[in-house]
Amino acid sequence: MKLVIPGDILSDDVKRAGEGTYVASGKVYASIYGILDQKELRVIPLSGKYMPYTGDTVIGKVVDIIFSNWIVDINSPYEALLHISEHPERIDPCDMDRCLEIGDLIIARVKDVDATMRVELTLEKFRPLRSGRVIEISHTRIPRVIGRGGSMINLLKKELDCSIFVGQNGRIWINGKEDDIDLAIQTLLKIEREAHTPGLTDRIRELIERSKKRG
């Protein structure tokens, strides 16, 4: 693992320039502070805000309802819009809050992001998350929560007796028994804190086993 900072020269092969890089006068440079992925020639960020991409699944929170849109906070500099026409049935704009009201948490998919970062969402089920709990961690730690080939998230789901949904915007929804949820949150916050340390999966397994014995 190699740490790079903005302005570091990464390669002469401009065709390979990936995320977190830029090209100038025939060379590829790092544009962000992070870890170099030599294979893909991209820089994996250590910090920064969540930027929505088309196709991402996110956990959002309805913060306003105006002009036939639900305005949704997605833990990003940009608010997202969920248009009334996304609803399978025809509803009156005045009745929108009967469907989803301000404060509701939803699991949504990013339908489109335009050049000015106007973000549109789509929903499969027009139901807010009523049970379970949502926590928020840095979105840069989400790949670690999922793990290589889903190894970490599968471990959590299996050991914790919880359903867990991971939003790419850093919000995670957990449902199950109260005590199991508390342990799941404790575990996830540990993963966030220690994301870049070796042997993390083992330590997480250990933490879960210890807590279960105590409980």
Partner: protein, 240 residues
């Protein structure tokens, strides 16, 4: 302030023992604040400065936002106890000007197109002032931006050069600034493009050329410190 010393440079040595091309001792640490998206603390001689970055985030008031790029706001502020006589808190003409030129020194390094309609806010607080505060602020701000994960073409490094007792010197002290012949704060990108240039005093064109060369050396040395601060944060525990 005491009276002017007879000589500011004697036998190639300055009053604090430095050579003409030497920087004062530097300390720098990245990621010193928890709430800020990025932060950096820097000492240069008696200067103690902290910089914090927030953003990109939504712009309020809305009419300030730009459709195709992020806006950059920079606030340089001096703590009331940072100087000999207590300074009234809040902005004055000096800090407003410094905020403007500092922002302009930093802004060219930021890749702004990635974040339309949003803002990046940079806050620099001078906790103790000891000549050259704006250059220290710019150095810390650049590291804080990187720490915040902001896409940049590279870091910006800054230092002051000037003329004292007829000689071109690097990194002026308060005394040298007061009684010297010229003071010139400079900032530049990694590839040597100038982003801040101010001068007051008197220099010949030849002296100016010499001063620029010296500033390049100074900025190069500071760049290494900036880089080390970012590497140290990664190795030092915040991420490990």
């Amino acid at each position: 302030m005491s009276d002017k010393p007879k000589k500011l440079i004697e036998k190639g040595k300055r009053l604090d023992g430095r050579k003409v091309d030497e920087l004062r001792p530097i300390k720098m640490e990245a990621g010193v604040l928890k709430r800020a998206d990025g932060s950096c603390y820097m000492e240069l001689g008696g200067n103690k400065v902290i910089a914090a970055v927030y953003g990109p985030r939504a712009v309020h008031p809305r009419h300030l936002q730009e459709a195709t790029q992020v806006i950059i706001r920079y606030r340089y502020d001096m703590a009331s106890f940072s100087v000999e006589d207590r300074k009234r808190p809040g902005p004055d003409r000096r800090s407003v000007e410094i905020s403007k030129v500092s922002r302009e020194a930093i802004e060219p390094s930021i890749i702004k197109e990635y974040f339309p309609r949003s803002t990046i806010d940079i806050f620099v607080e001078i906790l103790q002032a000891d000549a050259g505060t704006r250059t220290v602020g710019i150095n810390a701000a650049s590291v804080a931006l990187a720490d915040a994960g902001i896409p940049m073409r590279g870091l910006v490094s800054s230092c002051a050069v000037g003329k004292v007792d007829g000689q071109i010197v690097l990194d002026l002290t308060g005394e040298e600034d007061n009684y010297g012949e010229a003071d010139m704060p400079i900032a530049m990108t990694q590839d040597g493009k100038i982003t801040l240039l101010q001068m007051d005093g008197h220099l010949t064109k030849e002296e100016f050329a010499l001063a620029i060369e010296l500033a390049k050396q100074g900025c190069k040395a500071i760049y290494e410190v900036q880089r080390n601060a970012l590497v140290a944060k990664y190795k030092g525990g915040s991420y490990v």
